[in-house]
């Protein structure tokens, strides 16, 4: 059941099957969709996809980290990280599917 990996190629194939563009244009559009999300997240911070989830940027302050191998202290500078919050719809879908599989 688990263990498989879906990549851009499968997404492009699904778009090809669903919409009827050529395979290469389908692949190109998958890239465009992902790129638009990246650009938007980098510029304005939040991308909200209904019934899927929200991508948001969180600012992390600087802190002191430690190299786990040497124990040496290393400063971690302030940085931005992307967080994904799955929508309740998506969480429910995943758990409902797991319930059915049992």
């Amino acid at each position: 059941m688990a263990g498989k990996t879906v990549t851009r190629a499968q997404l492009a194939e699904a778009v090809y099957q669903e919409v009827g563009l050529s395979r290469s244009e389908s692949a190109e559009l998958v890239d465009q969709v992902l790129n638009e999300i990246v650009e938007s997240v980098v510029k304005s911070g939040t991308v909200k996809i209904s019934s899927f989830g929200t991508f948001a940027v969180r600012e992390k302050g600087k802190r002191v980290g430690r190299n786990p191998k040497t124990g040496e202290e290393v400063p971690i500078p302030p940085r931005k990280v992307l967080v994904f919050r799955a929508s309740q719809v998506l969480k429910d879908r995943i758990n409902a599917a797991a319930g059915r599989a049992k």
Partner: protein, 93 residues
Amino acid sequence: MTKSDLVKRLAAANPHLFQRDIERIVSTIFEQIAAALERQDRVELRGFGAFSVRTREARVGRNPRTGREVAVPAKLAPYFKTGKELRERLNGA
């Protein structure tokens, strides 16, 4: 940005396509990712990130209003790990 903003931006970049086709493309992509996660498959999109499903153990929670203990069952939670390229772009690399 919302899904409809995303559709509008893509429509502007692809004047040869109908907006309803763009809507189907965007919906198909997110539907495929959701369906993969339902199967507990991983979705790996280079330069963007990877979606996976993680297990949350059952635990004893507490109703914050009444303070009463409640059993929270084990559940699955979707998880997203930002890809290296995107992580670097966020920090101006």
